[in-house]
């Protein structure tokens, strides 16, 4: 029976090197290190100087702008763009990590609480994102995710209006897909939605829940300083994609609720009650096997809102990257009008 040549070629494609979380994380870390190296080696002084000159004006303008703050925490004050990101580290855990089941219950309880929250005003979520590497000043940029699935980016909040007016929508469907899955997970079959979320980047190449660890995979992983596990790959992708959905949909209680339910399915994620900048927070920590040994990621969210506050990644004792999120609800019309 002659099949199409394309089908045959696809069927014959060698798959002798399965995708595993150690290789994925190593490659991601190598890329991060490379990016960090470029920042050190090739700074762009002209742009930075310009940005620095703009900051005082922009900061003053930002104070005048009426911004709709999401959710309950009345103490949350939107940061003007360019302002230094909070440097206070996460406080020591209020108590030792509890049993995994109890941790998941905490997330589900917060998810239920968040789901009941009212949809905030505005038609878009503005995320001021400050990224810092050790010993380097934080770099703050503005991400705008509209409720209709558009995405706009600018170096500063004030520059977003021009991007919207020019129609520079940079969304390509991926974040929208992750947000949609998270929304479904708020009330749907969380097990099925977890599988969709893990494979959201490439639905035609679904990430298996369990992989068969062969001796060759074990050997390859050990040579790279890790250990191959049957579930690490799935957990790694579910963790990463869920975070993406949480950031992009951080202004929507349904999305946040769905993400928390999805993360509650990860038994290797620990949840700790913490305090960040005086606010009650939950610190979700993903380590081995969702991450390679010796590497962990922490996502810090508001304890009552599920809103992302901070992300830390790297060596547990010394994070190599820290990202701080400042989430507000805004109106695209206001941004275009310069408010």
């Amino acid at each position: 029976m002659i099949t199409s040549e394309r089908d045959w070629l696809v069927r014959e494609q060698p798959h002798s090197v399965p995708l595993d979380p150690t290789a994925t994380s190593n490659a991601r870390e190598a890329l991060r290190a490379h990016i960090a190296t470029e920042r050190r080696a090739r700074p762009r002084p002209r742009r930075r100087r310009l940005a620095a000159a703009v900051v005082p004006i922009a900061a003053a303008a930002a104070v005048l702008v009426a911004v709709l703050v999401i959710g309950a925490p009345s103490s949350h004050v939107p940061q003007p763009q360019g302002a230094a990101s909070p440097t206070a580290s996460v406080a020591a855990p209020a108590h030792a990590p509890a049993h995994a089941h109890a941790q998941q219950s905490v997330l589900v309880r917060v998810a239920d609480h968040v789901r009941a929250q009212a949809q905030p005003a505005g038609n878009a979520t503005l995320v001021m994102r400050s990224t810092s590497y050790p010993g380097k000043p934080a770099i703050t940029v503005a991400d705008l995710y509209t409720d209709s699935g558009q995405y706009f980016f600018a170096q500063t909040r004030d520059a977003l209006g021009a991007q919207i007016s020019a129609g520079h929508n940079l969304a390509d469907g991926l974040f929208g897909r992750k947000v949609a899955i998270a929304t479904d997970a708020a009330t749907g079959d969380v097990t099925a939605d977890a599988e969709r979320m893990a494979s959201a980047a490439a639905p035609s190449h679904p990430i298996p829940r369990r992989i068969t660890v062969t001796p060759a995979m074990l050997k390859a992983a050990e040579e790279k300083g890790g250990t191959a596990t049957s579930t690490g790959l799935f957990d790694n992708w579910l963790w990463g994609n869920s975070q993406d959905a949480l950031i992009a949909g951080s202004g929507d209680p349904q999305v946040r609720s769905g993400v928390l339910r999805l993360l509650a399915t990860l038994t290797d994620v620990t949840v700790t009650q913490t305090t960040t900048d005086g606010q009650p927070t939950l610190t979700l920590t993903a380590g081995y096997p969702a991450m390679p040994q010796g590497y962990q990621e922490q996502l810090i969210i508001g304890a009552d809102t599920g809103i992302p506050v901070k992300f830390l990644g790297g060596n547990p004792a010394k994070p190599s990257v820290t990202v701080t999120y400042d989430v507000t609800r805004v109106s695209t019309g206001d941004l275009e009008a310069g408010h």
Binding site: E5, E12, Q13, S16, V17, A23, A27, I139
Partner: protein, 175 residues
Amino acid sequence: MRSRRDPHAFEELFDRYWPALHAFCCARAGEVGEDLAAETFRVAFDKRRRFDTSYEDARPWLYGISVKLLQRHFRDRRRREAVLTRAAALAHRPPDGGADGDLEQQLLGPQLAVALAGLSSDEREALLLWAWGDLQYAEIALALDVPVGTVRSRLHRARRRVRDHLTERNDHDHQ
């Protein structure tokens, strides 16, 4: 493409395309493909300002980088093996243009090696980007930086070669 201006967001590009690039590179080069896939993103980051933002899909650009890295990898290995062969005064290697193909075809396995035998490396690249990279003709043209017409003719010949192979195999199975 946000990552062109925002280095941190380049990681999103990684998350999106790493599985596909990993599969493509490892299918071509075995375990070394893992390093080549990772290198693809490092090279892409360095060259991100050259990326034409009018293109909505970064895949052709990334696959184009991968193809160059794969070609360099096989070329380097061929050189090293040639040096070793001469040093050991082993058997004479035929100086045909498919020497890098020999290496690559070993990794592809016997069935694919037979099917792709006789194709030039250009034809093989276009064929595998079409089949394994899931790229359209115009996207392959972007990846390989050649006109679409060139891709069309390369793929016409390559696809016919594979189809001939399947026909021969089918006939053989029925005898």
